[in-house]
Structures are given as C-alpha cells and as structure tokens.
Symmetry: C2
Subunit: 338 residues, 2 copies
C-alpha cells in the first residue's frame, strides 16, 4: 500500500475518532458550544468539507509511525492521533484570536463567528478534549505507555506556548538574529510533529533508541517544513503575485529568509528597517532578498534538515508499507509548491 | 492539630510545589513569560503577597482529604494539589479576558498588564503545567491511580468550559429560570471542588464508596459556597453600600436570588426586565428582592446543600485531625460574611 492507499484507510478512522471525542459536548444544553468545535474542525456550517478540515497530517503521522514499528496495529492508537489533531486545532483557534485573523481555511474564524470570549473557551475545550483523548489510550495500552504518551503530549503543549510567546514577542522587533529563529519554530511547528512520531513509536512498541530516532525525524521534518513554508511565503507564486495579500513580507513576518537578509546588512536590511513593505513592492523586495543570498541560504538549511530527518527515519528502521508511506509523506510535505 | 495548624504546615508545601511546577518556564529566553505566571500567582510584581495569592482553598482540600483517609501521607499528593490550583488560575486568567475585568485580587489583570494575546497564552501555559503536575504523581503513586486522577482532572476541566459557555450564553438573557442556574454553577464552581476531594481520596487510598462520598462532599460544598457567594453579592455589606460597585445587581448577574425573583413575577421581576440597575438603587432593589422571598429561598438552598455536603463527609468517615480540619474548612467557607 502506498501513502494514498494508507490514507484512504486511516483518514476515515481519524475523523471517526475525532467526532467521538468531540461528542463529549454534544448534549442539549451545550449544543451551540459543540457546534463551535464541529464548525472549526470542518464538519458543520457553511463551507464544511475536506478543504475546511485541513490535511490531518499530524494524526496520520501518529498512525503511520505506529504501523511502521514492526507492523504494529495502528487502530488502537487512534485516540492519540485525535489528541494531537485536537492540540493543533486548539492552538489554531487561540492563534486566530491572538493574530486578529478573520479567516482560516477559507472560512470565518471561530472568534469572528461567535465572539472572542466564546472562542477562547472553545479553544480551551479542544485542549481539554485532547487530554481526555490521550487518556482513552488506557483502554488499549498498559498504564505506563499511556503516562509516557501523555507526558510527551503535555511537554509538547508547553513548548507550543513557549514558541507562541516568542513569536508574539518578536513582533515589531528589528534586532532579531538568525539564532532567534530556531527556538521559536521549534515550539510553533516542530514540537507537535515530533510528538506525533514519538507517541506513534511508543505505542508501536519501539525501544528507546528507536523512539529517539522517530523523535528526531518528527522534529527535523517540522523544522524543514517550516523553512519550506517561509520560502513559499516570500517566493511562492501566490506570495509573489500578492493576489491574496498573504506575502510574509507585507505581514512583516520574521521568517528565516528575512532574518538572513537582516544579517547581511545590505539593501534588504535597510528597506526592512525603514517601514512596512507595501503590496506593490513585494516582487522587487523579494528579488533583492534573493540577490543577497537569502533564498539560497534557506534552501540549504531546508535541505540539511530534510537530510537529517530522513537519516533519522532510516535509523528508526521504519518497516513495511507504513514505513514507505512515511518517507512518501515526508517527501510530499517538503517538496510542495504551495 | 486544628485547621489553622494544618494550614501552617500545608500552605508552604503547596507554594513550594507550585513554584517548582511553574519554574518549567524559568529560563533565559522565556523569562518575561515566566513572570506573567509568577505575577498572577501572587509571588512577583507590584502588590505581590498573600492577598494577591488567593486562599489556596482547592489545594488545601486535596491535601486535607488525602490526610483524612486513614491518615495517609499527604505530601506525595502535593503535585495534585498544585494541579488543581493551576487549573483554577488558568480559568481566572481566561475569565478576566472574557469578562474584560481590569483588576483581580486588588491588582491589574494579566491581560491588562501584558495584552490580551499574551494573556491567552499565559492562561494556556498554566493549564499545560497543571497537566504536567498531575503526571508528576507518577513518581509517588502507581500508574492506575495517576491515570484515574488525571481523568478526574480533565473531566473537571471539560465541566469548567461547559459552565463557562453557559455563563457567557446567559448574559443579556431575560428568560432564564431557576433550573438554568445549577448546570452553570456545577461547572463554574462545584466541579473543581469536587475534583479536589475526589483526587485527594483516590490518592489517600480510599475505596470506591468513600471516593463517591468525598465527590459529593466537594460538589455540594462548591454549590453551597456559590449560593453563599450569590447572597453576599446582593446582601453583603459591601454590595449593599455599593462602595466597590461590585454589587451583582448592578452587574446584572444571573445569580440564584435573581432567578428566584424573576420567577415570582412581582415588582423585582418588572424592575429587572426594564433596564440595568443603577448603583443608587441597590439598597432599594435588594430590599424588594428580599421582601419577595429571594433571600430566604437562597438561604434555605444553601442550608440544604451544606447539610448534604456534611452528610456525605460523615459517610466518608474522614479521620483524625485532617478530618476535623475538613469540617472546619467547610464551616469557614459557608459561614463567611464577606
């Protein structure tokens, strides 16, 4: 089975487990509250459907990792897969409030639809349900594995809040250096992908050496993914044409290419320090940044991290169709064009 | 040892465990983030001190309950005590944002000091650390007790978000009936007190019947406490003189006496439905509400719940000095005048 075939089996199991977990709030008195969650998860409301759901990469990573450990059964790990996806979505709901973002995946955000106070609470609820989901592993695994998995999840959430703190603290700062970048994306992106592969391998019955390789695979995959995201945010088709006004340059995002550009103290650094970039300038500023070596630098960093990730995956001795699908998933994540 | 003597031993242990838990964020890169938490918990910043810390009732309830179970050691339960206090404080930080409250325990709230986005994240961090704290029980107790305690904590947090949802949904509604009151306060107040006594007794090694009695004790204590709070919010000295403008009548709070008053369809109901209560009217409206029987109704409900709570505590066979201190704590909570 290739990745596509694996996904056709795993994705419905992930949706079913997520729905079961979120149904904890599905009773008469809290129906509108339940609806905020099902809306955000892409099941209900205007625009519901696969586009609104996101790609469910994280739960897939959990289940593929479990299955790649000596062909262990992956279905008993479904509550853990749901837990990481719920953590991801809790962070998105709060993120959208913090960033004042009106839209997410093509639809109005939860706070925009139901108010900021209700959205804080809806995010909290997704977070609580992720905790309950990870405890549901107790029906399928010995208690020590449940506790170990829960600890990984909680440590990851702490890293998420750290990354979020750094990200918010970096806004409007012009003295950042490249070294400030890694701790921030470690928390914001890499920690949760790393939790997926760690928990997946714990539940797959891997030994400590192997779990450590999976941890590194997830983390470096996350870092490489973020670097790729940063590159696309400046030189991706959409960013360059500015048609969605989503260019990281206009938003003033302290991405890796930007921090590299600042460190070069050249034309880009001067322009960046002067004032916000206007949508009309995007193509020109992006060209200057590329000329000063930022594209090449970021591409090399991305390649280095990708190699590290794949190297760790090799050492983990990921097996069978699921192991091959993991490599395919990594390739897909890192070679995307948009 | 009476309650005061128990508190003199337990409170320093609670503070030490809380500080240890929160120190997870105490490193160079996240120092200002750590400071938001230590400020909110009353240890640092202007106005730090016992007033700013709150009474630590919840962690005390955990430790006294543990100690009252056949004289079990209470110190190993300290991480659970810290966990419930962290949950309480997480909910306060988010509450203050949701209610737009500028002050808490005599000091500026976290969002007022550090911005709303940072405060959402600080609340999230307190919540995450509560999850890590409960997992720290694994050093002191068998895995099945850790999982059982964690489940109680997570179910409680879900009840908190439910209560919060209902509370926010009730704002500006004039069609509420007395039956709408209980599910809201069950989540907002009673669930967490109930978690304290449940977890305390699980860790104290109690059997299922006894744990159930402690659960009922905590829940009914919480409900009785809330009813008492509602009474003081209208007929307490401060509420009547309006000197802090904190009267629940002015704030339009759907408290138990108010819902009773509405149900009587008399002068109070008419005045309540017409427009917001002005500070100058407090004494008059409070008198009308009392004349229509709301004070007596709430007092009776409070007494009923108090009796239920103490009856359950009796059945739990709470032992020794800690058992006596639990009764003293309950009395103190329910007979307070402010």
């Amino acid at each position: 089975m290739n990745l596509k075939q694996q996904m056709e089996i795993m994705l419905p199991a992930i949706e079913a487990e997520l729905q079961k977990q979120v149904a904890r709030l599905d009773d008469a008195a809290t129906r509108p509250f339940h609806e905020m969650l099902t809306y955000h998860l892409g099941w209900t409301g205007e625009g519901a459907g696969s586009e609104a759901r996101g790609k469910r990469i994280r739960p897939l990573l959990v289940l593929l990792t479990t299955a790649s450990c000596n062909g262990a059964e992956w279905l008993p790990a479904a509550p853990a897969a749901a837990a990481v996806e719920l953590v991801h979505n809790f962070s998105l709901v709060h993120d959208d409030i913090q960033d004042n973002s009106p839209r997410r995946r093509g639809r109005p955000t939860v706070w925009k639809k139901w108010s900021m106070p209700q959205a804080i609470n809806a995010g909290d609820a997704l977070f609580v349900i992720s905790n309950l989901a990870i405890m549901d592993l107790a029906g399928n695994y010995p208690a020590d594995k449940v506790i170990r998995s829960a600890r990984v999840l909680h440590e990851t959430c702490l890293a998420l809040t750290r990354g979020q703190f750094l990200d918010m603290s970096y806004e409007n700062r012009s003295d950042l250096i490249i070294e400030d970048y890694w701790p921030m994306v470690e928390g914001k992106t890499a920690a949760l992908l790393s939790a997926c592969t760690q928990i997946g391998s714990i539940l797959g019955g891997a030994d400590d050496f192997t779990i450590e390789q999976y941890r590194i695979f997830g983390r470096d995959l996350g870092l490489a993914f973020q670097v790729q995201d940063d590159i696309l945010g400046i030189w991706g088709d959409e960013a360059l044409t500015g048609k969605s006004a989503a260019s990281d340059l206009v938003e003033g995002k302290n991405s890796l290419p930007v921090l590299y550009g600042i460190s070069q103290k050249g034309r880009f650094a001067k322009r960046w320090a002067a004032s916000a970039i206007h949508p009309d300038e995007i193509a020109n500023v992006a060209r200057i940044l590329k000329d000063e070596g930022a594209y090449e630098f970021a591409r090399r960093e991305g390649a280095r991290l990708t190699n590290q990730a794949l190297n760790a995956l090799k050492k983990s001795n990921a097996q069978g169709a699921a192991g091959a699908a993991l490599i395919e998933l990594a390739d897909k994540l890192l070679q995307r064009e948009s």
